[in-house]
Symmetry: C2
Amino acid sequence: MRKWRRTHYTDQLGPEMDGQEVVLTGWVRDIRDLGKICFMVLKDRRGTVQITAPKKVVGEELYEVISGLGRQYCVAVRGVVRAHPEAPGGFEVIPREVEVLSKARYPLPIDPTGRTPAELDVRLDARVLDLTRDEVRAIFIIQHEVLRAVREFLSKEGFVEVFTPKIIATATEGGAALFPVKYFDKEAYLAQSPQLYKEELTLSFERVFEIAPYFRAEESHTRRHLSEFVMIDVEAAFTDAEDVMEVLERLIRHVFKAVKEHCRKELALLGREDLEVPQVPFERLTYDEALELVRSEGFDVPWGEDFPTPALRALGAKKPGFYFITDWPTASKPFYIKPRDDRPELCEAFDLMHGWLELASGGTRINDKELLIRRLREQGLNPANFEHHLKTFDYGMPPHAGWAIGLARLMMVITGKQNIREVVLFPRDKFRLVP
Amino acid sequence: MRKWRRTHYTDQLGPEMDGQEVVLTGWVRDIRDLGKICFMVLKDRRGTVQITAPKKVVGEELYEVISGLGRQYCVAVRGVVRAHPEAPGGFEVIPREVEVLSKARYPLPIDPTGRTPAELDVRLDARVLDLTRDEVRAIFIIQHEVLRAVREFLSKEGFVEVFTPKIIATATEGGAALFPVKYFDKEAYLAQSPQLYKEELTLSFERVFEIAPYFRAEESHTRRHLSEFVMIDVEAAFTDAEDVMEVLERLIRHVFKAVKEHCRKELALLGREDLEVPQVPFERLTYDEALELVRSEGFDVPWGEDFPTPALRALGAKKPGFYFITDWPTASKPFYIKPRDDRPELCEAFDLMHGWLELASGGTRINDKELLIRRLREQGLNPANFEHHLKTFDYGMPPHAGWAIGLARLMMVITGKQNIREVVLFPRDKFRLVP
């Protein structure tokens, strides 16, 4: 079995440990052989430490081993901490034994020190090596904290975490852009969202959330779309759009606070020390107000249509922070969104925006079966395909509302990254299926 | 927008609130019209309350509305709490206003009170109605706590939560039982596990975990297999099998403690008040020892083979709690498991068992590229199909180990349910693709 047991991470060492023997494991970041003395920078996931090997002290044999190491070799080092004012952090480690746990082979596809920058596509091809850079890994350490904070907040608000199926028999919101799966002898699809399931579950759990991957055969190749993406979905009985918007804005604020508090180092690595915790409530613009703003910027968008990207960019220039767009034209939103009672051409839907980026969308749902069937037909969908879903409206379906926010888009806002591929470990798009 | 705002859940009411007006929302559980007085049991997700409507007090009109309600109608009730020693909990609510938010249509496919039991298949066909029963919903409230406790424990142990792709280009462990996906113009598959990704990520994160759905075209129809299932996956650099077994057994103990502490009510609903928090370390049996035990029970299993179900059942009868089976024959385990240095016909793999149920499997992984290529060939796999994965072993792959535990199987052990379909909201198997 295993010979080496790490006693410390590099960030647990210090000059006060002068004379103490430690075992470190990690990777060779840099190696500098001056003939009589060899310096190695050893890196683990929490930091780096200088290993100093004077030939006279460590002996010929060990010196040979150390000076023969290459960048990105995986090694274990047994050595003694020595306080040394001129070394980084005021100390160094004098090695007694070094074992190569695994070699690297050259040339490496990208420079793991980041000194030689590489294109994103090249980085993604060697993603796990790319992730050895602290400023890349920091994105995902922050994501870990975001997920923790999201679940903490939603659990406190009474939401129950659920898992709904990703292999589904029918298309949720029409058949567009679904990935077909051969399911034994049947045709099935990959879920684009948990929409219908989460709505149904309000009948028993009242409040549910799910964080899971979804799939969309996205034909357009943009910097903010992927064909596989993680969504945070929420649905709550006995609420309407305004209630769940309030949950959403408080959640965003909670997440930003948690990241500021627990990810200082990571934010600094990304140059985001000044990340601002947003104030609530977020501004609410109606669709009509947003349309007017967009038109005043010279974009001739007809009423009832979604905003094209250039119009969104103009809107984002005027509204750089978080804001909601509410009261969308009913025809522009999915069948399950509740039309307004007073003006049925508008509906109780909202989008959460950050600048020009759409982060989340949601709304009050229809809980009346007849109205739902009518809306399905109006959108050219066949109610027979929704038989199982519609049946659940015979069981006393409560009024309910909810939303979904894309995890990666939220991560773009927090990290300031402009391409969604930066904030996803192994992105999937029309052209990328590996690694 | 919405008219009713719930002021209290049913479990927040009590006789001490005598005279206070409240708004409740929920479902009609029972209705009993005695002519001059009508009793309704109103249910929400946290309990029930008796609504008492004397005709003389509430008036003819409201009496008509209340006595006309049907089971499982979704309603809002505005009323006044009245202390009343003979009512359940010592109080009742005298209604002032009742609104039907949504009706139920009869006959309901199953009895939501559970008084008329139904077969599991019938229940699963009407799953969201089935979930209105407290003892069914309790399973998933416990699951919420299990997930919370798992993430809490792993985060404290330094593991970073990650999401790896579910659409993959190549088969992870051979091509058996994969679901094919049409990915634009390419052929792809649904991931059976995050195995290769999580191993690769130890190169940068050192310690990662993922909780996500996976997919396996399981031909056999058993009470413990599904074709879509959630796995908890863990992988750690600079560890071996024994290290991660220790993480796993402590995790199990932490989860059981958390469930005992936070889910008393739910355990009681399931008749599991006496759930025992297991002691660690769990017993370790080698494969050879387990084989001997099985043979002593009359099962003639040849050395090197996995245990067939009847042999496992015999083993489980002797070992009813948690235990590990270690030191498996190398040929019986996947290519990435590290053979023992001293006896390469055995490998550093383990299974975590509970009685006869396999809960988890894991082991030390190979981190040497040449050995990995040899093992791929020995298992009849083509290294060329693993090109992207193998490349990462050129970047200084650390020694690493890990495991995966099936969430639903863990839930079976905690809840005592014998069929995995009981502990999954919407199970998927060869014959079930809806709801």
